[in-house]
Amino acid sequence: MRQLFVLSLVMLLAALPAHAQAPLPAAQTPLPVQVPLPERAPSASAARTPVPEPRSLKVPPPLTEQFNDRSTTSATVAAQPPALPTAAVAAQPPALSTAQSPAPAPSTAALAVRAPRALTELPLESGLPLWVRAGLAFVEVETIDENKETFTATVDMRLSWLDQRLRYPAAEAPIGYREWRNEAVAPQLAAMWTPKVGFANLRGEPTRESRSLRRYPDGRVELLRRVAGSFSSQLDVQRFPFDRQQLQVELVSQDDTADKVNLDYRQDDLLFSRADPGIKIDGWTAGAVTLTRDPLAGWYGERYARMRVALEVDRQALATMPSLFLPLLASLLIPLLATWLNHAKNGEFEIKPFELTNIIIGGLFAVIALNFTVNSERSILASGTNTVSLLFGLNYLALGTALVINVCLFRFNFVRGLAGRHVQHETFLFITWALPIATAATALALILIAAA
């Protein structure tokens, strides 16, 4: 019966209209109570620290405790949680009793407001959203797989936030903080709220992971996580081989929407977010690390906090040029040779067209073979517009032009048939110098545009 009475009283309190729960003037409101924590292993029981006794009421046990232990009851306003200010308790109408109309079922939200929040729940003391400051340092970048658009790296992610419920006397931490590492971290994290921030672009499971947790006397918590793994990151090779890529690691708040938990960074996070000076990536030069906040769209118009941490890497163009661009530029000579080799005397061509066409067809197969080779080795260059694909295009265009010249000019003498031998002769002479200039200038422009 007593348990039923207590429960119904709680329900009635929860169902009270807002004006009945209005706080009293500030002068009667006690200062916020700081909840000290045990030295080790904080848990939900830490929230049960006794509070000063209200002036006119008996101190009831905490609400959570009552729900857990039904035998503990109090005849007065026992359902009040200990964390409630005295004024709030005093504000309850004295006539409240079970004799009143049947109590409606308490809403979860109302109970949540009144019940002391477990340490594993989101801290609300500093308001919402809770700002979690994030930083990420690149410890090592082993490889960049352009074809799969992934990179293998070891990164340090640092998250820090303020949970005022976790404050403790500074004297208890002579070095300024308490620290747990690796296996000792998990029990600590299980007993407190932690932001569920994950790596959105981590492919598979981390190959290596270690953690460190620090708690400062003022309630600040710092979680450091070292993760090695493969991260996907879109590469833009439009300016290949003068491209600058951003090796991105995406940090996403997975459970809580951005209006509850948001990611941010400040000066010390920027200072933390660096690439190790010793990082060496084959064919690349590591640069600066940039942080960008970019919310992720969720369901029903919700958004999730996301932070992109990107390491800028510059491709070492000179390392790529000989292996890829020399064959590409050399193959451009084939169609030019097919026009240069001919000789005109008073508009009459001296070399038979099929011999020159053979060169062009041979060149076509050579370019196709080179194209297949490049596409199989660097499949990322096969899609989209980039310097290499444009140079291949120029190769095919030059071969096509040379073929048209061979067929129309050398074989069927179209120009001669239309305008006579003199015009044909001059046309041939013009082609012998203009075609190489146009081809070379276009190739050079394509390379320079990529470098611009």
């Binding site: 200062l31 500093s126 000066q267 013009f430 203009a434 545009i449 611009a452």
Partner: protein, 376 residues
Amino acid sequence: MRFQKGAPPALVVVTALVIAALTFGADWLFSGMTSAVERGQLDLMRSIISFNLAGTLTNSLARAEIVAADPVVRQLLAQQDRPALLAHTETIFKQQREKYAVDQMQFHLAPATSFLRLQNPSLFGDDLTQNRPLVVAVNREQVAKKGFAIARTGPALFGIAPIRDMDGNHIGSVEFGMDIGPLLDRLKAAYGLELTLFIDETPLREYAAGMPADVVSEQNRIGPTMRLHSTDWDRMSQLVNGNDLRIHDQPRDWVRKAGGIPYGVLLYPLLNGSGEAMGAIVLARNFESTRSAAGRTVLLQWLLALLGFLAVAAAILIVIRGWLVRPLEAISARFASVGTGRRAPPAEDDPFLCAEMVTLARQHQRIADMIDRRQR
């Protein structure tokens, strides 16, 4: 001079010059457009920093006015009860500091005596007349003011509101100072700008005696200023130097490269209540996209100009040489053979000759026939 050798090259050269001049003109116009875009970006940067500084100052002042209107504060300041005022306001200050980057909160007694510094309660009673003109002005004119200042515990964006006792008599003032560093961090997050705060060393040493010793140090000295906050000093150190900061009483801008990337840099002066420059905020924005686009456009313009030139040169050379000079040479050769007894056969190209050349060829044919008849 032979027409064949002189005329076509002359025409080709003139064509090349005209096309080059047109391309230069187009480049000049385009570079003007690029400069206009970059100017717009720099103006936007100036608007962003001035708007946010003004907003932060207003936030400081709003906080100060709320506290100045609190009856308990008015009563406690009137009673000059420092411990009670500290007890009443320290929670407010702590929360504001944790959540909203409020760096300083101070009560003054008129005309300009520090009564209570929430950020350093043990430091009080000093005269602020020399270094805090804004405090003096607020207590003299008894109106709220806002502005940048270097206080004893460091520079901040201050809002100062006068406080009256319960009878309406002016007794002092309260100020809130917002830290500039977090503002710069937020601007970087929101706009992708790089920002650095520089404060003049002389007033910093003179007024901000309560700042940590490591702030005013050799490693932070840049020209006549001290670097107090930077969102990315590695990059900014390549974009701004001591010479740039030597004069910083007016906004200035320039474009400079850092790590091979061009950045638009804006120097925005920080003036105190008296209008004296006390430091500057330097902002930088990546201009690589506009510069790359401009470079690509210039290259494409010149490539198209070259291709255009080749097309015009083809027309000149093929038309003049193929339709005029070479047929003329052939007809001349035929004229030269007249009377030698070795008459040149009729050319197969005669049907392709232009009308003027056809007349000439016919004349040659008529003369050659006439001479042949005479010789026979």
